[in-house]
């Protein structure tokens, strides 16, 4: 993951958007256990536009395309997800700026900026049974993995897979947590025993991105 050019930014965003659209029903079902079941469908309203209109987006820099995604989400996504995910992309956009090649350090800074935006907008912190509980440990793992010398050889393939696996486990670990944010919080102790839908979505999205990333660099190495 030494220097990510714009086609790699495209790969990540397209994969993310498609994964969210494909999993809308699954995410909504997770949300209906203690929430109100709109999470997957709300996100889909925005990300399906990202899928269909991606080719028309301004992709002159990483910041430009992240900003466009943030605007689409703020315009189309209702519920809690619109402001949360929209703010995450807008903050990520500010951190990316006009760069077209992203170093490992840039990628981590962009992800950290998104996390700060989510915390600011939602007023949530770690351990409150939200998507942060999967996202933050995944970013920590990715940062540690990218710092290893092997990361330069395999383009971060192994580090990204580790991060995705950590996200899936961390999402599973939200099960015994008491929900303190969002509509799930209204159920109090009855929120215990089911996974957080947002955290689970992060795991699913990172697994898809990791698979697409491995595919891309595997193809490049084998020349297929």
């Amino acid at each position: 993951m030494a220097a990510s050019a714009m086609d790699e930014v495209d790969l990540v965003l397209r994969t993310m958007a498609k994964t969210i659209v494909d999993n809308a029903v699954y995410f909504a079902e997770l949300d209906s256990v203690v929430g109100d079941g709109d999470f997957g469908y709300s996100l889909r309203n925005g990300f399906e536009v990202v899928v269909s209109d991606y080719d028309t987006f301004d992709r002159s820099s990483a910041g430009a395309v992240l900003k466009k995604v943030g605007f689409v989400l703020s315009g189309k996504v209702g519920g809690v997800s619109g402001p949360i995910w929209g703010t995450a992309f807008l903050r990520a956009s500010q951190a990316a700026g006009d760069k077209t090649d992203l170093t490992s350090a840039d990628v981590i800074a962009i992800l950290r900026a998104a996390v700060t935006g989510i915390m600011h907008r939602g007023g949530a912190s770690l351990g409150e049974k939200t998507l942060l509980d999967a996202l933050v440990p995944a970013i920590d793992t990715l940062e540690a993995g990218l710092a290893r010398p092997e990361a330069a050889q395999d383009h971060g393939v192994a580090a990204l897979q580790e991060a995705a696996d950590v996200a899936v486990r961390a999402a599973e670990d939200t099960k015994p947590m008491l929900a303190l944010r969002g509509r799930a919080a209204y159920t109090g102790e009855r929120s215990i025993g089911s996974v957080d839908a947002g955290a689970t979505a992060i795991g699913v999205i990172l697994q898809s991105i990791s698979a697409a990333w491995r595919e891309k660099f595997h193809q490049r190495e084998t020349g297929t």
């Binding site: 909504a28 209906s32 203690v34 929430g35 109100d36 079941g37 709109d38 469908y41 709300s42 309203n45 703020s74 315009g75 189309k76 996504v77 209702g78 519920g79 809690v80 997800s81 619109g82 402001p83 949360i84 929209g86 703010t87 907008r121 939602g122 409150e128 303190l180 944010r181 969002g182 509509r183 919080a185 209204y186 159920t187 109090g188 009855r190």
Partner: protein, 331 residues
């Protein structure tokens, strides 16, 4: 799922189109923002009153747009607050020199959209104030949660500020009146069955034939307690025992009493509940000033009811007694 529906994802737009067409020209519809608004608004001499919320609570809020009530409603999808853009564009379109009042039921999504939307409007020089409605006693208000939910009591806030705004009240005056209502209104809901959002196609939760959910939210969020179904009188006791001590409502108080149907309960059952509640309140020395028995804020086809009490003073009584017009109801 067994509903009158074409493409489930077009459920909300097709419903809104029906509302506009039924209004005989008194309402306008802007499909880009799920926006239903009074054709005669904005006006220079009246504050514009806007509500967002999700769809699926009809008649709240798109069907109670009219003179003396809301001036506009821009709901999100079924059970989802509106995107920020809906709030921003609706406020711009309804902007009045007197200002714009946002009525927000206290849910995280609605709050975030309206906070961000208000920031964007204020950057454009639009004068905006916000009222947060939080009448649901089922939620324990702690420092952790976003606080109590806004449910059927929202109607009284709309009615009071809607009436005052028709008489030319300033934005600041409406905020004072609205907060007076919010401080004195309390609700508890009980569900007997689940509900099915059209896009989801399956019930939001399962509930057995002999069970009820006490403290249900208006989005099918589970309440605080699942118990065996009991008699109507015992259900009214549960409701009053949660609502009355919460304010508390005391002997000598005058109240508006609302029995609100959640969508799938007959009007007959609602009046049955009303009668029991009315007698029990009077026995406690609490005088019913005015009754409200109907569907005001529903959760799709959920069977169930909520009980709302509003403690009234002379000012609020006057505002509740003012005429109001709901553009699509014709008698």
């Amino acid at each position: 799922m067994k509903k009158f529906v074409n493409d489930p994802r077009q459920f909300v737009p097709e419903m809104l189109e029906g509302i506009q067409l039924a209004s005989d020209g008194r309402l306008k519809y802007e499909p880009k923002y799920n926006l239903i608004y009074r054709a005669d608004m904005p006006k220079a001499n009246k504050v514009s009153i806007i509500q967002g919320s999700g769809s699926g609570h009809e008649p709240a809020h798109t069907m109670i747009v009219g003179k003396g009530m809301l001036d506009a409603a821009c709901p999100g999808d079924v059970f989802a607050g509106p995107p920020v853009e809906f709030v921003y564009e609706t406020t711009k379109l309804l902007n009045s020199p007197m200002g714009v009042l946002h009525l927000v039921n206290n849910y995280t999504g609605d709050r975030l959209a309206f906070e961000q939307g208000r920031e964007m409007c204020e950057a454009d020089g639009i004068k905006v104030e916000t009222l947060l409605v939080n009448d649901d006693v089922a939620v324990k208000d702690s420092t952790w949660t976003v606080g109590r939910r806004g449910v059927a009591g929202n109607f009284f806030v709309i009615k009071a500020v809607g009436a005052a705004s028709e008489k030319g009240a300033s934005l600041e005056e409406l905020v004072r009146i609205g907060n007076e209502v919010i401080a004195n209104v309390r609700t508890l809901g009980i569900a007997l069955s689940s509900c099915t959002p059209p896009v989801k196609g399956t019930p939001l939760f399962e509930i057995a034939d002999d069970e009820m959910e006490v403290g249900i939210g208006i989005h099918g969020e589970p309440g605080r307690q699942r118990t065996k179904l009991v008699s109507a009188t015992e259900i009214v006791d549960i409701m009053l025992n949660a609502v009355v001590p919460d304010l508390p409502f005391k002997s000598g108080d005058e109240v508006a009493l609302m029995i609100n149907g959640l969508g799938g309960t007959t009007i007959g059952e609602l009046y049955l509940l009303y009668g029991i509640a009315h007698k029990k309140l009077e026995a406690q020395g609490i005088k019913v000033f005015r009754s409200y028995v109907n569907e005001y804020c529903t959760s799709l086809e959920m069977a169930g009811a909520s009980l709302t009490l509003l403690k009234v003073n002379e000012e609020i009584k006057g505002l509740l007694n003012e005429p109001a017009e709901v553009s699509i109801r014709v008698f």
